[in-house]
């Protein structure tokens, strides 16, 4: 087991000898069922990118419908078959599209693709460990995720269509196949897939937490950890505490669907018959779902907080402003994320007193979030900013996070949520703050750590083109959605033309769809850059960004075990950029204070 040679600091050669044994791993052990955290991270990344394109493509399909409600889409017939009838998209298929878009993006791309990639890749490399605590569990985590992906992907192709009750799968709609065809086999597959997904997340989460707590290298105290690791650590804790609740919600739903129980069902007359279920509560499901669902949005956004903090500090050539406040605000956000779930349920008929409590708790989250934004901006202030592609995405991340986050103050207010709940205002809010922002954080991470992953650089020029097209498109898509939302346009509507109140904004919807198509197309530039650079990119140096964190002290292509010799010892925090008196504008964490006497601060003199 890899864990044994990490925790014990034996002499260098011993560890090396063990590695020689690993050299004769066959192809399957090396690339498929690998237990190396770097390979697993890449597997998650490839899967995430694949899912990202699937999820994006689904959104283009329903944007076609929303942008051109009168048009006929006969050209989609070869692709969608009977889901297009006489050139018209089937309304239930439309609902299936939005459902699968949400499920795929939230869980498969921004949870598995994001945490799976960067937690796996960076935790051992940045804390100075040879691998995860349990390489085997880590491998299982990916392969169970893979299985879950296959099930979810298969559900796209079945006759009754994939799940269609929205990504939140509220029963009774999701429990009754009579209510919508997607609640038949499609929903069963959705539940099976999500159950597997949760198992995968838990295996991963346990590993991340254990690794961060136990396997830090000598000198790497919790207060010397890069913010990325803090973010991944807290993300894993959130996942570990909240995913089991979703599992229980899913399990009870499976019981209601297949074994005649009434956890969520009561007093239902549907398709010409009265069901015998009685005494259940659909609201119970919503409580359970959002008890995961709200921490989930922080599971999506927290890792990018870490990634962006790291990239902004490195490329501003400045220490991150308020390191401890950054950790504190992440702790605060993580804690609060568990006590705000019912702000998704202000108008479900829940006791109004609860509404007041959850409004209060929800708006508190604005405080740590604001602190983070101010600190990022303060980090840029008087920096010497290098605009790498990753840095562009990091700056844009902050912009998107502000734009999307501020409207959260409105939606978290229960009396304002009455009008705006389930309208496009909500769509605009969360797509900016956790959709686009998290995607930008992910791109930021990919561009930044690509050299460490593949030993080559991504093309910067293509990165800029990709960035500018995506950034523009994102704002063009989601800013106008606020207007539509203020006008009260409900979400998950196949068409609004049936209502007098909602028959405006047709041009704007066409415009949004065009912008969405532009944004989606731009991702192919990224795809090309990504694949091309793996094989033909410029060769990277060991530390191309002049960064302080210790993953850049490994060889260009780190092998299994990460460092060929002894694991480096850490002496300082990761943000000694542009320290007055230092020769270079960065001092890696592995440089002892005794070697930097000219730049040591008064309180650091003791460590010399």
């Amino acid at each position: 087991m890899s864990s044994t040679d990490i925790s014990i600091h034996k002499e260098v050669h011993h560890a090396h000898d063990e590695h020689d044994h690993h050299h004769d791993l066959n192809f399957f052990e090396k690339y498929i069922f690998s237990q190396d955290h770097k390979v697993i991270a890449k597997q998650f990344l490839f899967a995430g990118i694949f899912w990202g394109f699937v999820g994006g493509f689904l959104s283009i399909l329903f944007r076609l419908q929303l942008g051109w409600p009168e048009a006929t889409f006969s050209f989609l017939e070869p692709l969608l078959g009977k889901w297009v009838e006489n050139g018209k998209l089937d309304p239930e298929f439309y609902l299936a599209l939005v459902t699968m878009h949400g499920t795929i993006m939230v869980f498969f791309v921004l949870t598995a693709g994001l945490s799976g990639t960067f937690s796996n890749f960076l935790i051992p490399l940045q804390i100075g460990a040879r691998d995860m605590a349990s390489g085997f569990m880590n491998m299982l985590s990916f392969w169970i995720f893979f299985l879950s992906s296959i099930v979810m992907f298969a559900s796209l192709f079945i006759e009754t269509g994939p799940a269609g009750g929205g990504w939140t799968v509220y029963p009774p709609l999701s429990a009754l196949p009579q209510a919508i065809s997607g609640s038949g086999l499609g929903m069963t597959l959705w539940l099976v897939s999500m159950a597997l997904f949760i198992v995968s997340q838990l295996l991963g989460g346990v590993n991340y937490i254990t690794t961060v707590i136990n396997l830090r290298t000598k000198g790497m105290s919790m207060t010397k950890l890069p913010l990325t690791i803090w973010a991944f650590f807290l993300t894993a804790i959130l996942g570990l505490l909240s995913f089991p609740v979703l599992f229980s919600a899913a399990l009870l739903l499976i019981f209601d669907r297949s074994f005649g129980t009434s956890f969520y069902l009561s007093d239902i007359f549907i398709a010409g018959e009265a069901l015998s279920n009685t005494g259940g509560s659909p609201i119970l499901f919503q409580h359970l779902f959002w008890f995961l669902g709200h921490p989930e949005v922080y599971i999506v956004i927290l890792p990018t907080f870490g990634i962006v903090s790291e990239v902004i500090a490195t490329n501003s050539r400045k220490p991150i402003f308020g390191y401890r406040a950054m950790i504190g605000s992440m702790l605060g956000i993580s804690l609060l994320s568990f006590v705000v779930w019912a702000h998704h349920m202000f108008v479900t008929g829940m006791n109004p007193f609860l509404g007041s409590v959850f409004m209060f708790l929800t708006l508190i989250i604005a405080v740590p979030s604001a602190v983070k934004v101010f600190n990022w901006i303060a980090t840029l202030w008087r920096g010497n900013i290098r605009f790498t592609s990753a840095m562009m995405f990091a700056v844009a991340f902050v912009s998107l996070f502000i734009s999307g986050g501020l409207t959260g103050i409105i939606l978290g207010n229960s009396s304002l949520d009455i009008q705006l709940h389930d309208t496009y205002f909500v769509i605009a809010h969360f797509h900016l703050v956790m959709g686009a922002a998290a995607f930008f954080g992910m791109f930021c991470g990919i561009y930044h750590w690509f050299p460490k992953m593949f030993g080559r650089m991504m093309d910067e020029k293509l990165g800029y083109v990709h960035f500018w097209l995506t950034f523009t498109a994102v704002y063009l898509v989601f800013m106008p959605m606020h207007y539509i939302g203020i006008a009260g346009f409900p979400r998950r509507y196949y068409s609004w033309t049936g209502f007098e109140a909602f028959n405006t904004f047709t041009d704007l919807n066409t415009f949004i769809s065009l912008a969405a198509i532009l944004g989606f197309t731009a991702q192919f530039i990224f795809l090309f850059n990504f694949i091309y650079s793996i094989f033909k990119g410029r060769r990277a140096t060991e530390n191309p960004w002049h960064s302080n964190t210790i993953e850049w002290t490994t060889p260009v292509n780190p092998g299994h075990g990460n460092w060929p010799g002894e694991i480096p010892t850490v002496y300082r925090w990761p943000y000694d950029y542009s320290k007055p008196g230092a020769a270079e504008d960065f001092i890696p964490q592995t440089v002892p204070f005794s070697q930097t006497q000219s730049s040591n601060l008064p309180q650091e003199k003791d460590f010399e």
Partner: protein, 352 residues
Amino acid sequence: MITIAIGLSLILLLVILFLLFRIGTLASIFRGSTQRAAGTTKTSNRVNSTLLLLFLILGGAAFVWSFADSWDDMNQPLASVHGEWTDSLFWTTMIIIGIVFVITQVLLFFYSFKYQHKDNKRAYYYPHNNKLEIVWTMIPAVVMAILVFAGWKTWTKITSAAPEDAVVVEVMGKQFNWMVRYPGPDGKLGSAKYTLIDATNEFGVDFSDPNSKDDFMPRELHVPKGKPVLLKIRSRDVIHSVFMPHFRLKMDAVPGMPTKFWFVPTKTTAEMQNETGNPDFKYELACTEICGRGHFAMRFIVVVDEPEDYEAWLATQQPFIEQNPDLMAKFTNKAQASLEVEKKSETTEVVK
């Protein structure tokens, strides 16, 4: 033929783009920009930071213009008392977050532009400043406290118990339309049970209950202007949500769990037709909780009358059971049947 032509030109386009990309790469190697540390090349830095500043200015301008342009469409006409409170709170909050939005975005993009890389410059080592951090933690905290207080006050008023004299109407959602039921002159809705639902009796009203004798189910929701109206909301299949955009009103319709919402309409349909200049203006009720194939088509008309017109309209309504006398037969039989069942169960208990 055309598809082949399109395909060919697409391939050609991709080839050209690829060649451009190669030329660009070779040119940058030739210029030696690859020798510099990543992100410190002069042109790229200048271009990107300038574009960021341009993005701020042009983006900001486009935002302001499009916002102003959409203003009329964005503001649905308002016709309820509590809607005035929430609208004013909404726009107050918008102004507050708008100020924060402008300040933070301007600083973000402006600093990015101003502090772009220069070879002879060094960043300012500034790891923290506790005073500053406390200040900018406290300010949002205070602002949030004010907003929470304002929101809480409004929310408490809106969700308080309906006045005793409120007009009571039952609204029921089903796949895929809305139905309403009025209690009739006695002011009491008859009891209903989902097992009693059939093709005629869609509410499942128990007509053996005397309160149900005068209940009626019109095809439009009529409410009097200036009087409190209490909507008793339920669903008989999946979750729906009552949304009346002009009244700033929304409440889920949940099977097995009745909900309610009360409001005071302030403008009659006729007044609103005058105000909007649209002679066909109608208040609408929409569904905002995904409920299946017809989710987007659950339109129901709401009419606000002058109180006296409302009374006149009430007078013309005929109780449902009088319109469907056949139903009653079923209930008298059922009532007897259930009575017999009760007797039987009593006897069995005695036997036990």
